[in-house]
Subunit: 250 residues, 2 copies
């Protein structure tokens, strides 16, 4: 097949998804596009090590040991650990949804989400991905991304989620300039009409934007302006905890 064993191992791991966290061997073989015998051999080794686990019904799922190794990713739990006290505070003050996200490729990846029981229901999930142009955290991350990524996103079709989604490159370009100028992104009903997100950048040791923080509240009854100071303050707090230069510029 000309493909390395490492590539096959990674394809087995990539066969699992949030929609399909448990897979029978035949499904796994089909999704990984590998022969059944190859899949069986790889799965046996991965299960022995603990990268996969076998459920009682015989299906396979991602194992605790792989979760542990993943937890060592500095851009995953490491960042989350520094941010957590500030996320907690923000959650206690707002009782809404509080999110922490990073840029990966041309998408947002959600590292953490705290949701109050009475908070507006939202579609994001820890470890889940959403596009940059339609989310508050995405606008923040895109506004501070390198020019190449910005041009790439502006040149590609911008998927419409609601009547309010920013789908024109010129509107998006202006929105990004606003984010850089004000230090905050407000995404009102762009991914779901009922939610409004207020997001701000989290900076690292060299002042570079390493993550974005947001509060997601009900669009109808919330005044976005009321959340701007608290979101910016929390984002600055995390930046300081990460060793960002002080004063943290907007």
């Amino acid at each position: 097949m000309g493909e390395t064993v490492t590539a096959r191992v990674l394809r087995v791991l990539a066969a699992f998804s949030a929609d399909r966290p448990e897979l029978a061997l035949t499904e796994l073989s089909r999704r990984a596009e590998l022969p059944l015998t190859t899949t069986h051999r790889l799965v046996r080794e991965l299960t022995q090590w603990g990268a996969l686990e076998r459920a009682e019904d015989g299906r396979y799922r991602v194992g605790l040991r792989l979760w542990e190794v993943g937890a060592l990713a500095p851009r995953g739990l490491g960042l989350r650990e520094s941010a957590m006290p500030f996320l907690e505070d923000l959650y206690e003050v707002t009782k809404q949804n509080v999110q922490l996200a990073v840029l990966d490729g041309a998408e947002v990846v959600y590292l953490e989400r705290l949701s109050g029981r009475g908070a507006v229901k939202i579609i994001t999930r820890i470890g889940g991905r959403l596009p940059l142009h339609a989310t508050g955290v995405g606008l923040v991350l895109l506004a501070h991304a390198d020019a190449e990524l910005q041009e790439q996103v502006l040149a590609a079709p911008l998927k419409r989620y609601t009547a309010k989604t920013i789908c024109g490159p010129d509107v998006l370009r202006r929105a990004l300039a606003d984010v850089r100028r004000t230090g905050v992104a407000i995404s009102d009903g762009q991914i779901e009409l009922i939610t409004l997100s207020v997001a701000a950048p989290v900076r690292g040791r060299r002042g570079e934007v390493v993550a974005a923080l947001s509060v997601v509240v009900p669009a109808e009854t919330s005044d976005a302006r009321a959340y701007v100071p608290v979101v910016r303050a929390a984002a600055r707090g995390i930046s300081r905890a990460l060793g960002a230069p002080d004063p943290v510029s907007r």
Copy 2:
């Protein structure tokens, strides 16, 4: 070498640890006990896929994509997701350390920890491991583990952490019986003299114990009995959310 490529890939991943989350290629090669050329080839493929990332100083670390795959582990974030609202409540009520842990092999693995700013400092870490006999969550998990594991732990040397650590098999056997009888484990100064842990079992769909929950408070100034009802109630709440049969037995 007679070893499969899959085993080598897994050894590269296992070379990372909480103490050493970033490794230069030579360190990685040494810790994985693989030749430098082999390590280099594997690391290149793992980095291309996103399982590893290269830091600015050239060192390697666990990548965001592996964190995402790990986040699919049903025993990791899946369990955590169901537990989170109850952990939040427990944290708000106590303002101390709240922990969720599962059994893996003969150890406790911590899935989640929420710590108040003023809470007593503790040694656990998300994704970290501790022995069963010296922690509150460990006593709960061991008390409900199969007889084989119990005998294995009782037969092995029990490491002493403090003057209060349970190190005798007879004392441990009685402690486990108490946990089963009372539905709660109290571990007072066993891993560090300054902390006291109150832990209770979380049950799954068939009533089996799938995790343990604890509150860790300062040993000197806390009355463990004050925490028993709230910890048990939170553990039952999570059990119900996981579909445990109701009424949840002790």
